[in-house]
């Protein structure tokens, strides 16, 4: 990975080449320097970045946390090719601030990543009654392969606006321990900020997983009011 400062005000730094575990030290130094620089907002231009691995994504996530800790904002601009694809597939746009200077490119991307999707978990967009209570319905099969589709629920669970979240499981046909793990992470995130996660109307297979794994003692499980 190489970095070039392309603008000082606002600070914009362009990354090029490949960002992998080998770049840990160089990237960490760069982030430290950028946080020390003037201005509340810093952008990393990724248009010349050819490749990123999962370690590189971890570096971006850590950097975003460091910026947040310093009261500043980090924007990642113009990811391209394999970098953009990995960002999209890993749904990083829900946890990182990612901007694209060309909007048409974003539209093309949305079409291309949806090919080759497997059947599995379906998650409805959240509905809210306006008092901090949100509901989301899960359907299909929730296994280790569906974690990306649950990302939006985790983002909602982290949101300060969400005081309670009901997961309607009445249409969920199957869940394995990886699906359960995702729900427990959401539960933990919400418990930490004194918010509440409720599981509603799990059907036979899902209800029994909750029972076998002894989580029905920990998580509130309710039936739908009109069930």
């Amino acid at each position: 990975m190489e970095s070039t400062t392309v603008s000082l005000s606002p600070p914009v730094c362009r990354l090029s080449g490949r960002l992998t575990f080998k770049d840990n030290d160089a990237f960490t130094r760069l982030i430290t320097d950028l946080i020390a620089a003037a201005g509340p907002e810093v952008a990393l231009d990724l248009s010349d970045l050819d490749f990123i691995d999962s370690f590189g994504i971890g570096l971006f996530l850590t950097a975003a946390e460091q910026f947040e800790g310093a009261g500043k904002l980090l924007t990642l601009k113009n990811p391209r090719g394999p970098v953009k694809r990995l960002f999209k597939l890993a749904q990083l746009d829900s946890v990182l601030r990612i901007r694209d200077d060309s909007e048409s490119a974003a539209a093309t991307m949305a079409v291309s990543v949806e090919t080759q999707q497997r059947d599995g978990l379906c998650v409805t967009p959240p509905t809210t009654s306006g008092d901090g209570h949100f509901s989301v319905s899960l359907s299909g099969r929730f296994t280790f392969a569906d974690q990306g589709r649950f990302q939006d629920v985790l983002t909602l669970a982290e949101s300060e606006n969400c005081q309670s979240l009901t997961l309607d499981m009445s249409e969920l046909a199957f869940m394995d321990s990886a699906g359960l793990s995702m729900i427990l992470v959401a539960h933990e995130v919400m418990t930490k900020r004194k918010a509440r996660l409720v599981l509603q109307s799990p059907k036979a297979k899902v209800a029994h997983l909750l029972s076998v794994a002894a989580v029905d003692d920990i998580l509130p499980v309710v039936q739908a009011p009109d069930a």
């Binding site: 994504i57 794994a213 989580v215």
Partner: protein, 252 residues
């Protein structure tokens, strides 16, 4: 008993396949359509497609064995032996096992093939899901489960999963699933991966807490099976189920 036939379409002239089939006592026959409508015990051998999988997991076929001349992987001995003994088998690369939900395909076919397992199919399906997930994620793709302990960990886990599914070496590694009935009410299910294996003794001995966000898989399998064992340096998981025992996990 009737001899098991291996039907193959695109690999009919592959000498490497012929010699491997001979060594396993499997008779190869050409298959001109997706699946022959012949009432002889058979397996389908070749490049995978969803249609082939669905057809070959149903009677009279005993399953699907992926075989490609170019990738160097051998014809699965475990699958051929299981099919010969009247069981059901599936050998499939990691990427397809992930995209096509191998657990769901295999469990649905198993219930139709062995209706007497109906009462314990819930136990079987969940244990199989855990075993296949372990084989894909920790076995063939070599990803640690400890990543999945918080929101950031899940993002990293997902990124690692997608990245390694694109790795041409890792994604072609096979997952093999075999299910063979024994006694009158029992079935033995094995899940084999081709990763680096692991040391079972190095795993934590204590049971996970109810709030644990990783490390549940093997514990659940232990709860759901009559017996469970690990061999081949952690790459093969053998589970047995007994339909005469009360199911721990209800059917839908």
């Amino acid at each position: 008993m009737t001899h098991l036939v291996g039907f193959t379409e695109e690999n009919w002239h592959a000498t490497r396949l012929r010699s491997q089939a001979d060594a396993l006592g499997l008779r190869l026959e050409p298959c001109l359509e997706c699946m022959p409508d012949l009432s002889v015990p058979n397996v389908l051998i070749g490049a995978p497609s969803l249609a082939k999988l669905k057809a070959s997991l149903n009677k009279p076929s005993h399953g699907f064995i992926e075989w490609n001349d170019h990738d160097g992987a051998d014809l699965s001995r475990a699958c051929v032996e299981c099919a010969t003994a009247g069981g059901q088998c599936l050998s499939l690369n990691t990427k397809m096992a992930y995209e096509w939900d191998a657990t769901n395909l295999f469990a649905s076919a198993l219930e139709a093939r062995f209706p007497h397992l109906g009462d314990i199919m819930g136990d079987i399906e969940l244990a199989l899901a855990e075993a296949v997930a372990n084989a894909v994620v920790h076995g063939n793709l070599g990803i640690e489960s400890t990543l999945r302990n918080d929101v950031k960990g899940f993002v990293l886990f997902q990124a690692a999963l997608l990245e390694r599914l694109d790795n041409p070496v890792l994604c072609r590694r096979r997952i093999e699933i075999t299910a063979e009935p024994f006694d009158s009410a029992c079935v033995r299910i094995e899940v084999q991966d081709f990763g680096d294996g692991y040391d079972l003794a190095a795993l934590p001995k204590e049971a996970v807490t109810a709030l644990a966000k990783s490390g549940r898989g093997l514990g659940l399998i232990r709860q759901l099976t009559a017996t469970m064992g690990v061999s081949d340096s952690g790459r093969r998981l053998t589970m047995t189920f007994n339909a005469d025992k009360a199911p721990k996990f209800a059917r839908q």
